[in-house]
Subunit: 197 residues, 2 copies
DNA sequence: GTGCTATGTCTACGACTGTATACTTCTTGT
DNA sequence: ACAAGAAGTATACAGTCGTAGACATAGCAC
């Protein structure tokens, strides 16, 4: 236990959650051990299991907490919006900001990217995406094939993050931010405005 | 060693490569052990290291082999092409065909997705992408910011595969194939035709 | 102050990992 | 036919993993 802090179940549990979130974001579900997570919270590995039951349930809690707060898509989507003319630009700006090179993003998509290899983790994500993103985005998009276009928007956003942050493709990771943002905005808007034919 | 086969270095090495490719595709770099790969080839774990040096070098060989053969982007890109007016439709058709639900894709992108959490694997992929896709695609695209647009095309393709095959988002995994293909073609073409401004 | 209980730690187990060393067995050139 | 070397195996090591069970201690009610 860390010297500074007194015994407190609520604070300790929160500290574990914070440490787990950072660790899962950076290294994925399989890339991190409970000992490492515990050390980041200043506690022992066994306390993690004591509070969360198992590593898998801890991961599910982290994912749920991540989805509950505003992300790249939701914060722009849930706000009052008369039309979708500037939605592409807003998504692009948010995406660029949250994937700035060198930062340690706590975003949910990165956890998904880094945990997609685990079947259980993928199932957890499928459910969370359905619940949070898919429905909200679909309701926003006018025209035909709204669910497909919403999912394609998700695909573009997650693919961008993977190439820019996880793989680190130079054309995206080292590009001029303003120019790339404008280009990305145009493409996002193309998905939003796409009409089935 | 498997009862049916005789001792043969070339065949054994090829069998290990096949087994490793299938295993990496399904479970990613960290999700698979050399013993498992060896068993799939009917061989002992140590023989894998004997032929390939280490698990990491084996992975690099698998990735290189995957990139060498025609994929979703390369086979349409490398062919003689006067203009890029139909490039989006070609990419979309290829992408839909190679990500048909229920099949077991041996595609390189799936290996990347499932191995992206490992830093070494990500570095191997970054180099391979630079060498194979980035340059070829960039040379094809007219107008400004060609490298960025090429990378965004890569992002879209990989994000689509992740949502459709890895996560299994229903809107993409269970969509009407023809309609989704047309929609996807339009979006790809938007990236191809996007002009910086 | 004194127990009681929640809070946290210690130790350890069984399974798994990648791979180095030493060994056996098959194939092939002569 | 027979050695020589290639092809493949067996064993083991040092490590990590998740987590179970027993133990220690701090904090609060009285």
């Amino acid at each position: 236990m860390r010297p500074g802090r007194r015994r407190n179940a609520r604070d300790t549990r929160a500290a574990i959650l914070v440490s787990a979130r950072r660790a899962f974001t950076r290294f994925g579900y399989d890339g991190v051990g409970v000992r490492e997570i515990a050390e980041g919270a200043g506690v022992t590995a066994m306390l993690v299991n004591r509070y969360f039951g198992s590593k898998e349930r801890l991961f599910a809690d982290v994912v749920a907490a991540t989805m509950a707060e505003p992300g790249i898509l939701t914060d722009r989507v849930t706000k009052q919006r008369q039309d979708v003319a500037s939605l592409g630009a807003d998504i692009a700006a948010e995406l660029m900001a949250k994937t700035a090179p060198g930062d340690t993003p706590l975003d949910g998509f990165l956890i998904m990217l880094r945990s997609a290899s685990n079947e259980r983790a993928a199932a957890i994500w499928r459910e969370q995406i359905e619940r949070h993103y898919q429905k909200t985005l679909t309701d926003m998009l006018p025209g035909a094939m709204a669910p497909e276009r919403a999912a394609l928007l998700l695909a573009l956003v997650s693919g961008f993050q993977m190439m820019r942050q996880v793989i680190g493709v130079p054309a995206l990771a080292q590009a001029n931010a303003a120019a790339l943002s404008k280009l990305l905005a145009r493409i996002c808007q193309a998905v939003i405005d796409a009409e089935a034919g």
